[in-house]
């Protein structure tokens, strides 16, 4: 693992024009530095602008204030040096798994024989060997996401940008894929920026968790997870960090809920169980 900085986001803000003509600040003055080989999660409730940040780094959206540098260069177009893995896999339905995985190599002009061979190998690497010649709709959700990861990895990108890749999967599949992703990360040493709204997922996988606040999206707090790899879900350190992240996010959730429910008195955070008479265990004697 090197210590070079890989992604530098420096005082970046992004506004959207709303339909009524007002400008809406999606993210405001965000600064993030990610080192080479680091696994960083952006965590926050939906609508906090975490996907916006990823889209900016990916190069899908080039209208923003501030500067973004990837590996010392500014971003011009989307490119295979920082492949995106999407929540909805984004596999091309008209190609087989094998052709999907080989797609990126084809763009680079790699010959057919070589690219199919390398794609097969990559597919075996994500344990999909038997399904190489299937079409995406014939696969389960977890298998599709594995294929999408294989399609990204074959480009040998320096950076993997993962936009809630496991959010649509069931819990069991997600746990399996967490293990596999951690394994891939440890073997390849990729820099990974992982977007999620799942606290456990973020803490389990990442070296650092950046918690975002909403409206406008800013980085609220940063947590470092120094638990040993491979991670163990029973590790008390994990639970400890999870708890702190939860507390940090509680303020945020309350803000969102109040706004959405239009109710200023609602409180998510306040647990008044111990203050109620009915649960008085005799502490006042």
């Amino acid at each position: 693992m090197g210590f070079n900085t890989m992604i530098v986001i420096d005082h970046v803000s992004k506004q959207f024009q709303q339909r009524d003509g007002n400008r809406f600040k999606a993210i405001d003055d965000v600064s993030i530095t990610i080192k080479e080989g680091e696994f960083v999660s952006l965590l926050g409730p939906s609508g906090c602008g975490k996907s916006t940040i990823l889209n900016l780094i990916a190069g899908f959206d080039r209208q923003y204030e501030g500067t973004i540098g990837v590996n010392g260069e500014s971003i011009k177009t989307p490119g295979p040096d920082r492949v995106v893995v999407f929540q909805e896999h984004g596999l091309f339905p008209w190609l087989t798994v094998l052709e999907n995985v080989a797609f990126g190599l084809k763009q680079q002009g790699v010959g057919k024989k070589e690219r199919l061979e390398r794609a097969r190998e990559q597919i075996r690497y994500v344990h999909l060997g038997k399904f190489a010649d299937r079409y995406p709709h014939e696969l389960s959700g977890g298998m599709k996401q594995r294929a999408a990861i294989a399609r990204a990895l074959i480009m040998n990108p320096k950076i993997l940008l993962m936009d809630e890749p496991f959010a649509a999967l069931d819990e069991q599949t997600r746990l399996v894929l967490h293990k596999e992703l951690e394994d891939i990360w440890m073997r390849t040493g990729k820099t990974i920026l992982f977007i999620t709204h799942n606290i456990r997922e973020a803490v389990m996988l990442s070296d650092r968790v950046l918690v975002m606040s909403t409206r406008p999206g800013t980085i609220k707090k940063e947590f470092t997870v120094q638990a040993a790899r491979p991670r163990d879900s029973a590790d008390p350190l994990i639970h400890h960090v999870e708890r702190s992240v939860m507390d940090c996010l509680a303020d945020e959730m309350e803000k969102v809920i109040k706004e959405e429910m239009d109710d200023d008195n609602y409180s998510f955070k306040k647990n008044d169980f111990h203050n109620r008479d009915i649960s008085d265990m005799g502490g006042g004697i």
């Binding site: 177009t77 295979p80 079409y135 480009m155």
Partner: protein
Amino acid sequence: MILVTWEAAYRLIGWESWKFPSLFQTVESFYSGFVHGQLLDAIYNSLRRLFIAFAISLSIGMVLGLMFAKFKAVDDTIGFLVIALQTVPSIAWLPFAIIWFGFNDVSVIFITALGATWTMSIATRTGIKNIPPIYLRAAQTLGTGNGWRMFTQILIPGAFPHLMTGVRVSWAFAWRALVAGELIANGAGLGQLLQDGRGLGDTALMLNVVIIIAVLGTLSDHFCFKKLEDRLLVRYGLESNSKS
């Protein structure tokens, strides 16, 4: 059953054969038409025109459709015009075509292509606009760029289900325009044969031509396009191949 009723009705009502032919007359005429090569010739000529016109309209239609989908300005101007033009039956352009090109093949091909082009361009536009943006993004992130490779590898296959429907409808439009064009403009073909039949009072020949047109249309649609479309839909996962 239909055939028996036909022959029986012919005998009972006592139509004269210059109004509508009997079953036997039709079969006989069909046979002799093939033996003398008259029918085959006409079929060959019509199909040749049809394929030329069809190829032209598919290419122009797809290029137009791509421009509509990509450039909003083009869509707002020419796109609107095309929708207006699409409502005009292409045979209405035949008088113009005759002035421009004369009574010949070119006129017929022109109006045949015209009928199919608008439909194809609108189908292409819809197809491209309906490609989920995630495919475009996924392709970009894998290094496809925004040019030719994006067009051939993502836009065309992504729009294929719509393109297929466009091709089928265009084909039907082209057929119609072709026969109508041949009826009026010159040149050996099925439409011209119909016209000849009228001139000679040969109703059996005319009916044969009509039957041939129907059969060719159905065959091409059912065995070519429909089969292809169904297979594609299954492959794209839009329709399951197992009957439940």
